[in-house]
């Protein structure tokens, strides 16, 4: 997996923006199969920063209904990356 296959997109929500601003933690949607080491390496390579911690969680796909049929959206993996003090991801602020 290359870095772009590991880091899929930033997660831009009120909470993630607050974490970025106050805790220097940036949230991304990552590949389900990506592990913390891969995520750390990908973030460091893509944004030229130092990652001090990575927390990951698998988000369960929500159930949806289409008429009388139920289906489930795909599960996806979220990674909250903590950067070293003084580092920041400028691109994240621009989203």
């Amino acid at each position: 997996m290359n870095n772009y296959q590991v880091i899929l997109r930033p997660v831009v929500t009120e909470k993630s923006m607050d974490q970025a601003e106050w805790d220097n933690q940036y949230t991304f949607e990552v590949a389900l199969r990506a592990n913390k080491r891969q995520i750390k390496e990908a973030v460091e390579a893509l944004f030229d920063v130092e990652v001090t911690n990575v927390r990951t969680m698998v988000m369960k796909g929500k159930t949806r209904r289409w008429g009388r049929n139920f289906y489930s959206k795909s599960d996806w993996k979220k990674a909250v990356v903590t950067l070293a003090e003084g580092d920041s991801i400028v691109e994240f602020e621009g989203v």
Partner: protein
């Protein structure tokens, strides 16, 4: 903020304002905060999305628009203050966006009119003869005769002007009856009158031109009611006549269109108006307090003379003001004229309202655009504005003021004129809302009287109106309704005074003979 000031002709100033980027950014962010309150952005509660998210959601253009809406009033106020100018009407200021980066705005600000009265001490406006035309007097008597004509039954043939009572039955060629009516009445009119009526109807028709083309071939074919009237001419009481009437293609009743109907007409009566002889008896019958033809002629002549004098006074005062305007420095912005023009257009709309016609519908009917209306009223409004500016300047220069007694009387007059039955003339609210109007009225009348007297050296008829005591003694003096039409638009409000209403409202139709006769007697 940097401002460039450029003076334009016709009392206008162009302000070009360069806005700081920081100021714009701050307003854009403020606008984003407001916009964000109404936006659903995934991941954020309403109003919590960051600036860039809102910018992406609504677009930079809309945010800029909102930011400008917030900024422009303050920018304009600051620019006006810095340029040290007094705008005529804030609503008439034109604003333009010259560039976005850097933000540059342009305002064209109309300024208050500027008037410097010329020296009119040597001005002379000679009087013209206000003679009464004897033909007018005789015409009035003729109108009175027509109004008091007696109707008598006639045994002879029907003529133009007679009222014919008749029965009619209409048959189609197959013998079926299509129309059966009795005791119909028709006042027979001449062929020329029928043609005049047809022309007037064509003019009123929405699609007159199309209709003319459609009816082109029928122009020589008289309209069915006319054909019946022509047949009635010359008929005697109890005479029966059959007349074929051809209905045109465009006849509203499609069952009759393009068909010939044979009408059987039976005249049951003919009435004719007989004009009374002009003698002393006639005068006593028509006017209670007169008893001779000569007295009647004198009364009519006197009344006509009074009106002629009033018109001559109006002409003279207008000529005086126009002459002073010619020798004075008068500058005003187009916005001042436009305000008066739109006041008049709004007045038209108001007058049409009771008939359920909107201004747009009126323009459709008359085939005019708003620009056409503007053009039509422009010259008149401009003349009214110049006159009002001259009078206003005179009021300022010569310190014409109203006394409390005069204002009280003007308030009472306004109360009477406007029919304020629900509120007393002493009501504080009434006084407060009409005080300014009353003062305007008094000072403008006084100014007009003074001007008239200064230039002509003759006493003004208005003087009697102004003098409270004199006014009560001279009920027959020319009233202010006959006063010259002068628009008095206060500069500071940009609103015309009620005198403009008189100008815009349709004037009394002096040509109406019946009305003339009543007034003259």
């Amino acid at each position: 903020m940097n401002i460039q000031i450029e003076a334009l002709p016709d009392r206008e100033v162009k302000l070009i304002v360069d806005v700081d980027q920081a100021q714009l950014d701050s307003k854009m962010r403020e606008a984003a905060r407001q916009e964000g309150k109404h936006l659903n952005i995934p991941g954020f509660r309403r109003g919590r999305a960051p600036y860039k998210q809102v910018l992406r959601a609504v677009g930079a253009e809309r945010l800029m628009e909102r930011a400008l809406e917030r900024m422009v009033p303050q920018l304009l106020a600051d620019a006006i203050k810095e340029a040290e100018i007094e705008p005529y009407d804030l609503n008439a200021i034109e604003s333009d966006l010259l560039s976005v980066e850097p933000l540059q705005l342009q305002f064209v600000v109309p300024l208050n009119p500027h008037v410097v009265l010329g020296d009119f001490s040597g001005l002379s406006v000679p009087a013209e003869d206000a003679m009464v035309d004897e033909a007018e007097v005789e015409e009035t008597i003729e109108t009175l005769r027509r109004q008091h004509a007696e109707t008598v039954a006639v045994a002879g043939a029907a003529q133009v002007g007679d009222m014919v009572t008749y029965d009619r039955v209409g048959y189609l060629m197959d013998g079926s009856t299509v129309d059966e009516q009795s005791d119909l009445q028709s006042r027979l009119i001449s062929e020329e009158d029928w043609e005049a009526m047809a022309d007037a109807e064509d003019e009123l028709d929405d699609e007159a031109s199309a209709d003319e083309t459609e009816r082109g071939d029928e122009e020589h074919e008289p309209w069915p009611p006319q054909q019946i009237d022509v047949a009635l001419l010359g008929m005697m009481p109890n005479q029966v006549k059959e007349v074929p009437v051809v209905y045109p293609v465009s006849w509203h009743d499609k069952a009759l269109a393009e068909r010939t109907v044979l009408y059987r007409l039976t005249v049951t009566g003919i009435a004719r108006s007989v004009l009374p002889e002009v003698n002393d008896d006639f005068v006593r019958r028509v006017v209670e307090d007169l008893d001779s033809v000569e007295a009647l002629r004198d009364r009519i002549r006197t009344n006509f003379q009074m009106r002629a004098d009033g018109r001559e006074h109006d002409r003279r005062i207008e000529a005086i003001i126009d002459a002073i305007a010619d020798m004075s420095e008068v500058e005003y912005p187009d916005a001042a004229v436009r305000n008066l023009v739109y006041f008049q257009i709004n007045n038209i709309a108001k007058n049409l309202q009771p008939y359920g016609i909107t201004l747009n519908r009126y323009m459709e009917i008359t085939g005019q655009t708003l620009e056409d209306l503007e053009d039509a009223y422009w010259e008149e409004a401009e003349q009214g504005l110049v006159r009002s500016l001259i009078v206003r300047q005179y009021i300022e220069d010569y310190k014409v003021e109203a006394t409390e007694a005069e204002i009280r009387r003007a308030l009472a007059d306004l109360h009477l004129e406007h029919g304020h039955e629900d509120v007393g003339v002493d009501d504080p609210n009434y006084i407060q809302s009409h005080y300014h109007q009353a003062v305007e009225r008094v000072v403008s009348r006084k100014a007009l009287s003074e001007l008239y007297e200064r230039v002509t050296g003759e006493p003004s008829p208005f003087r009697e109106e102004i003098d409270e005591e004199a006014a009560s003694k001279h009920a027959a003096a020319p009233t202010m309704d006959d006063a010259p039409i002068i628009a008095l638009a206060p500069y500071d409000q940009g609103q015309p005074s009620s005198d403009v209403v008189a100008e815009a409202a349709p004037s009394e139709d002096e040509t109406m003979a019946e009305g003339d006769a009543e007034r003259a007697t």
